[in-house]
């Protein structure tokens, strides 16, 4: 059976989501900002062409944006998440095996399908575009690393019309291609590996392929050897069809304003804890440990940087908002100090266990799961809330340029005349 994997990758996903509901943005440079409008996390091709780098702080590029008519969007994760789900479900129709790799990338297994795969993937590309408005490119190869590389080619060269199978390349042309790929751009090798490999005199993918296996292993470990094998066509990385079980749930945020008073910080952390507990409930998990942390701005010149955190372990797993939210304030009281301006904070739930698991026979059992918790599970967004969640909301992130949440809020639907 011929092994064939495809990587479907959405083109400039966040920018494409914005364009799907605002066609005036077609052809216009777009940048999307991180939570709290901090720095650039996504760019349209036009914005890339202007030389706006990834991760650029917003305040540094504000003038450039104005001068070049760059449209600045706050991140709209409600919209991006919903559009991602739609795209992934359409992709799933094309193969029995799918790995959703990230919000905008998915691997599927096409092995053993005796049809014209280029045509098949062209159809996928067309269907995703027609159904959702999101453009995608498809790369195919015998291994994940090759499919990823093929996707790069499909994106880069218009003549492939967005679909490229790297296994179709004759050996000589394949090698020529590898020569043009920087070693840091190989999927699975990061910037640290790049530095080490460069030190060995290896700079492109072809040289990496030809390098001695045991040398690679001694410098970077066995995972880099797997990448090398994958690049040479030997499949080592299987599709991950099931999402690995969650190890921890983190809910953290940079605050919209620096917070000083205990009540403000307490509101922020309790609200963040609510988000974490909601995830716990949806995944049918309980937690045996919780941490809270707060820190000041590390870049501030006016005040010293502090970073406080505190953890607690539970005898029996806790599942519910009723049990967990009060613990947040208790922990916070132990680390909070008046004279600081807190800039970021969060909650981490760890040692996650499946619901219903029994631990200490004599410990207090969290019965909250049965009542309040059930009510909030039914409708995660409208429920009984804890008094600590109410406050002046100064912690809420800035999202001055957020587009409407077109697909998840009745009040924010697209308007048509």
């Amino acid at each position: 059976m011929i092994k064939k994997l495809a990587l479907i990758d959405c083109n400039n996903f966040y920018a494409s989501c914005e364009r799907a509901f605002n066609p005036k943005l077609n052809g216009v440079p777009i940048v999307v900002l991180s939570n709290n409008d901090g720095c650039v996390i996504a760019r349209s091709n036009e914005a890339k062409a202007l030389g706006i780098p990834m991760g650029e702080p917003y305040f540094k590029m504000r003038d450039l944006a104005k001068a070049n008519g760059v449209v600045v969007c706050s991140s709209n994760y409600a919209l991006y998440g919903d559009m991602s789900n739609r795209v992934m479900r359409i992709i799933k129709r094309y193969s029995p095996e799918q790995e959703v790799y990230s919000i905008d990338e998915s691997f599927i297994n096409l092995s053993g399908m005796s049809i014209d795969l280029i045509k098949y993937m062209q159809q996928l590309k067309k269907q995703v575009k027609n159904w959702t408005g999101i453009p995608v490119c498809v790369g195919m190869g015998r291994t994940k690393v090759l499919a990823k590389l093929a996707n790069r080619v499909a994106k880069k060269y218009a003549k492939f019309n967005g679909v490229f199978d790297i296994d179709e390349l004759p050996k000589a042309r394949f090698n020529n291609l590898l020569k043009t790929v920087d070693i840091g751009d190989i999927w699975g090798l990061g910037s640290k590996s790049k530095i080490k490999l460069n030190a060995l005199g290896l700079s492109n993918a072809l040289e990496f392929c030809g390098a001695n296996k045991s040398l690679i292993q001694s410098v970077l470990g066995v995972s880099a050897v797997r990448i090398q094998k994958e690049l040479l066509g030997e499949s080592c990385l299987a599709l991950e069809l099931l999402r690995p079980a969650k190890k921890q749930i983190v809910s953290s945020r940079s605050f919209g304003h620096s917070l000083v008073s205990f009540d403000e910080v307490n509101q922020a952390l309790t609200c963040l804890a609510r988000k974490a507990v909601n995830k716990l409930v949806v995944d049918h998990l309980g937690c045996l440990s919780m941490s809270v942390f707060i820190r000041t701005n590390p870049f501030s010149k006016k005040q010293a940087y502090v970073n406080f955190s505190k953890s607690i372990k539970f005898v029996n797993p806790l599942y519910s908002d009723r049990a967990l939210l009060p613990v947040v304030s208790q922990l916070l009281r132990q680390i909070y100090q008046t004279q600081h301006q807190f800039y970021k904070g969060g909650i981490v739930l760890t040692r996650l266990v499946p619901r219903g698991a029994q631990y200490d026979l004599f410990g207090r059992v969290d019965k909250g799961t049965l009542t309040l918790d059930k009510a909030s599970h039914k409708s995660l967004l409208s429920h009984v809330i804890s008094a600590n969640e109410i406050g002046n909301n100064r912690w809420l992130s800035n999202a001055e340029h957020r587009s409407p949440r077109y697909t998840t809020q009745w009040q924010e639907l697209l308007l048509v005349e």
Binding site: P23, R89, R93, N130, W131, T132, L415, V416, E417
Partner: protein, 193 residues
Amino acid sequence: MRQSTHGGARSGAGRKKNSGLFKEETKVLRVPLSLLETVKDSLKIYRAQLNSSIELLLPQDSPKGVNIPIFTSSVQAGFPSPADDYLEDKLDLNKYLIQHKEATFFVRAQGDSMLGAGIHSGDILVVDKSLKAISGKIVIAVVDGDFTVKRLHKYGGKITLKAENDAFDDIKITSDTELIIWGVVTSVIHRCD
């Protein structure tokens, strides 16, 4: 007279039967001009379905989320509910309104230009982006960057977006207009309050 062995019909010659555009026998039919584009469009869709052998491989939709009714009455004690044998699936408006859930979006109508089609200001329109916009359908169009809901009309190679309210002008699409058909309106949700 001696029968000629040359000329005349030869068996097996000519185009094979059922090998045409539609892979079956066809018939000539008179069509009113105003409906010509509509008929052409629907034939086009039919032909596309005939010719896409690949499409047939695809499962229609994931069969997830089928709710199976359970029996409500407990046994023994008491009298069993006579309705138990007649339990059916609950009516689901999503199933009724949404054909392709990945391609379906809700948008809100503003203004009265489509009053005649039963679209009131504030109504929610169910829009399916996967459907082909054929002449006569109500569509969400983007005209020079602006969204509008109108009835699509194709006639004699010309495209018009028709309002269904005399107080509004139709939008004639010229070669200078940039037109994107964003989706096809499949239902209107109107609240009576």
